[in-house]
């Protein structure tokens, strides 16, 4: 376990040092992150300029969902996607062999291999959005709600990570689909709305098949003190099962991996 943590720390430090070499990029990308956050906010402002509530959600409540969305998008585009894109690159060039040779778990090694530290801006933005939203609502979330939503956030990151791992596992079988991760990133855009915006088949898909509801809607509901214990427990349990499944599929696809070069 200690070794695991040491590996993670070394990974983080290496990819951080790499990213910090490009200081101008840091500034430019930070500004861009701010711009895109504004772009995300504008539609919400316009929609609520016309309506007081949408699908049972008030503006402030919707902002909480958006806050989680911005934060998770930061996680996805700042760490998971860039790291896992590299796996696809490794597979194509045949350099994955070098990663597999290292005396540590390959999934761990590839998962944090590239980080874009400027996406920290997204977390700051999410914090500002939360603060504003709860000022509008008029009371801060209780400690229990905070704890619950933190647990659900963990589940959300776990599911996000598992989906990314699943997508990359597909890359072992069919190298040509390396854009799948990009596709998932764009599907993730749906998570900016609470799941009750959708009806019928779509609502089912986004809750159970592609659990986007779990990623932003549930943590938001928890923060607002509106999530019942059973749903929360189900979500947590579901997340762990999903992560286990993703791990199994990763292991089996890496076992089937035949190097490109040799």
């Amino acid at each position: 376990m200690m070794r695991l943590l040491r590996v993670i720390r070394a990974q983080l430090r290496a990819s951080l040092a790499l990213a910090l070499q490009y200081r101008l990029e840091f500034l430019v990308e930070g500004l861009l992150a701010l711009l895109w956050m504004a772009v995300t906010l504008v539609p919400l402002l316009v929609v609520f300029g016309a309506r007081g509530t949408v699908a049972g959600w008030s503006f402030a409540e919707m902002l909480v969902v958006l806050g989680w969305f911005v934060a998770l998008k930061g996680v996805l585009e700042g760490t998971l996607s860039p790291s896992l894109m590299q796996v696809v690159e490794h597979v194509r060039k045949g350099t994955l062999d070098f990663v597999l040779l290292k005396p540590a778990d390959a999934q761990l090694l590839v998962s944090l291999s590239k980080i874009e530290p400027w996406r920290v801006i997204d977390f700051a933005g999410a914090a500002v959005i939360f603060t504003y939203a709860f000022r509008q609502i008029g009371h801060a979330p209780s400690a229990a709600d905070l704890l619950l939503s933190a647990a659900l956030l963990l589940a959300a990151v776990l599911v996000l990570y598992s989906i990314a791992i699943l997508v990359v596992s597909i890359a072992f079988v069919a190298v040509r689909v390396d854009n799948l991760l990009y596709l998932f990133q764009s599907v993730f855009d749906v998570a900016r709305w609470p799941s009750s915006v959708f009806r019928g088949a779509l609502a089912m898909i986004f809750t159970y098949v592609l659990p986007l509801a779990l990623m932003t809607t549930y943590p938001a509901l928890a923060l607002l003190g509106k999530l019942n214990a059973r749903t929360a427990l189900g979500a947590l349990l579901g997340a762990f099962v999903f992560a286990g499944l993703a791990r199994l599929i990763w292991l089996s696809s890496i076992r089937r991996y035949t190097s490109a070069s040799s």
Partner: protein, 264 residues
């Protein structure tokens, strides 16, 4: 110029063959264009209790499906290729050819349109099925849609080409395009129909080039303008095309003078 025009049919053929060869990747890129549908979801939910600023649920469906169609049919990606080629040094090889590499790029982007059409066809079907009543009844406006889409594509391509050319001077040209994209998403009507903005924002948006990339063809399909107004807007769109053509030309010439190839 003459040499380029003579070689253009062949370049189109090559581009088409490439699009067919990479069809799986191509399809994935197309499916990733889902933003109009994401926006449709929230507006459809908001319009459940009644129309907003003249848009009913069907109205929003028509608008966003048209937006999806225009976006699918006017795709360009020259900025990514240019910045990549310039950074990796392969750009120098392209310069050795007797024809300006931008011609080849435009042929590549243009030749993908038949493939894009295949993806767009089901969207047309859904549009006709769900929101036929919202569409324009004027055949002339549908006729105008051809030059309007062409203009929209040219505008998109030229903006990308001029920003991509800036990579000859600056390293962060693709970030600049990212910023352009951010503004464009708001001001072109991609995320929100321009009618729904506050008056001041709308007036600015109507004046800027962004709307001619997307909103104008959508407005034609929805029959928002009289014939006279539609023609005037077409002229304005092509004026912007001409402007960006000059900008691209200028950026290209001055960029090349500045360029010292990387690598070998």
């Amino acid at each position: 110029m003459m040499a380029a025009l003579k070689a253009y049919p062949q370049m189109l053929k090559t581009g088409f063959a490439e699009a067919v060869a990479y069809r799986a990747e191509f399809l994935i890129w197309m499916f990733a264009t889902n933003m109009p549908l994401v926006m449709l979801a929230i507006w459809a939910a908001a319009a459940r209790s009644g129309p907003i600023a003249g848009y009913s649920q069907t109205g929003f469906t028509a608008y966003y499906l048209c937006a999806l169609l225009v976006r699918l049919m006017t795709g360009a990606w020259v900025v990514w290729e240019l910045t990549m080629d310039i950074r990796q040094g392969t750009f120098a090889l392209q310069l050795l050819r007797p024809i300006n590499p931008l011609w080849q790029r435009s042929a590549d982007n243009l030749a993908a349109i038949p493939m894009r059409g295949i993806v767009a066809l089901p969207v047309v079907g859904i549009l006709l099925w769900l929101a036929r009543g919202e569409l324009s009844h004027d055949p002339l406006q549908w006729l105008l849609l051809c030059p309007a889409l062409m203009g929209a594509w040219l505008l998109y391509f030229l903006v990308q080409a001029s920003i991509g050319t800036l990579a000859l001077r600056f390293e962060s040209a693709s970030s600049l395009f990212d910023a352009w994209l951010g503004f464009s998403n708001i001001l072109s009507g991609y995320l929100i129909p321009l009618d729904l903005f506050p008056r001041a924002v709308r007036d600015i948006a109507l004046f800027l080039p962004f709307r001619f990339q997307l909103s104008y063809p959508i407005e034609l399909m929805l029959g928002r303008w009289s014939r006279g107004e539609a023609l005037e807007l077409l002229a304005a769109q092509w004026a912007y095309v001409a402007l960006f053509f000059m900008i691209t030309r200028f950026a290209w010439r001055s960029g090349l003078r500045h360029y010292a190839a990387y690598g070998g």
